[in-house]
Amino acid sequence: MIKGIFNRSMLIGLILIGAVVFLALTAPWLAPQDPQKTNFDQRLLSPSSEYPFGTDHLGRCILSRVLFAARISLFIGGSVIGISFIAGTLIGSISAYAGGIVDETVMRFVDGFLAFPSMFIALAIAGIFGGNMTGLIIALSIVEWTAYARVSRGSVLAVKNMDYIAVSRMMGGRAPYILRHHILPNITSPLLVISTLGMGNVILAAAGLSFLGLGVSSAPEWGMMVNEGRLFLQSAPHVMFFPGIFIVITVLGFNFLGDGLRDIFDPRDTKQRWRLF
């Protein structure tokens, strides 16, 4: 048993994420109904055998919608993290490598963005774009990229100043080699952790913005579904309940995974600490 590499948190996280990914991938086959099909004489029905999660105010099957919404959320999350990762890592590394005034300018630029509470700026950007998925992805990427820039910049700076880089250079090592052999290993673990936790945060933020009507509006999305269900809180609470549960499960999965990864990469042995001297 590879006890060292896996721990309980990671396992729970992977199971939860795996389940959601599976549901997302198989949604077209698993969903009992067409998520967009309206049915005005089946509105706001409580969960039943025909409609396991009930129906919403337009008679649509909530289970089907929830399953399709999983695809949307994972897509948005993946896109934002992907864009932020690439843009952030590139900008951060180059800035640190270049050093000097370039570095200073970039850092001031980053600080400028970080001066805003993330929700406000994401809201503004998504709003300006008018409330569609593209705008949402752009808005969230603008907020997320800074974390990657910071991490990669930190790693590059740390390595840049080390002696063995000077030695490596003297022995003829050039930038790509240094990048691959010295910087990459240092960088992978923190980037992995923030990507995982970031995924959870992005999904939450996307749901929040969609809830406000500034995110996805054409396809089912969990946050947007909660918003739709809000008018029927008293009469049909199931409408807003189920999408929310799925958000919790998905984000919890990513948080467990990230937490577990963080424990591995930053080992502070909890159960076995003894001091010997």
């Binding site: 076995q272 600490r273 003894w274 001091r275 010997l276 001297f277």
Partner: protein, 306 residues
Amino acid sequence: MLSIRDLKVAFESPQGPITPVDSVDMDILDKETFTIIGESGCGKSLLANSLLGLLPRDAKVCGKVHMDGKEILSLKEKEWRKIRGNKIGLVFQNPSASLNPVFTMHNQLYETLKYSNKPSSRDKMVSLLKKTGIKNPLRRLSQYPHQLSGGMKQRFAIALGIATDPEILIADEPTNGLDVTVKLKIVEMLSKLHAERSILLITHDLNVASNLSDKIAVMYAGELVEIAPAKSFFEKPIHPYSSQLLASHPEKEMIPIPGFTPQLTQRPHGCRFHPRCALACRKCKTEHPQLEKIEEERYVRCFACA
């Protein structure tokens, strides 16, 4: 006054149980300065901590320690508090770590005195500081640890140790990391305390040991391998490790001891020192020697020498 019998401290590790302190027997008399010499990692500090019941939660302790006739290892937490500070005091290695950085020296000294029900007046504190050689005591009291020099911090740590007037003061590496001149002054100060109480000194500095000790015990790989009165020890060490230790000193021939100190999980069979011993014979490889009395007040753990 303090008698230790068969003291063992063990932990569970992924590689099995380990015993950093393994069957230690020794006695400390009233007003005697007893020094334990050993390299880092031989278990000295754990031994010191165990005498105050300060071992980590997962440590297993066995053996008996009698202080003034009373057994203390089996005490409950509440009773330990009466011993700590009051009967046995402990001065830690590295006072930079053992002084709380967010409280003033006055605060820390005052609470030490107060909670042991000792007089805590300003005059009392000043005289205590003077005793440990701190000049400008009033000014120093209002300062924080990071504002003091290394030597000053050490003096404070010792002052905190004797503030509660314990019968035994354990000083764990009191001169570690200090400049030579400061070291001498600390040794001078400690020797003045010698007359008032017993001191259990732990050090790997042979100069300090020779200046302060009445008795020496040498620790290797968790065991005591030699116990002797200081004078006869430094004149003629008996255990091979002891003699090689002295020979490796810069002021003597500076011959390093071949090999490395064994890891806790990889202790040699038989005599633990045999891989590095010039006098080792076949018996040393297979049988584990016990501590034997050779002369009056001299004990050695060695087949070749006993």
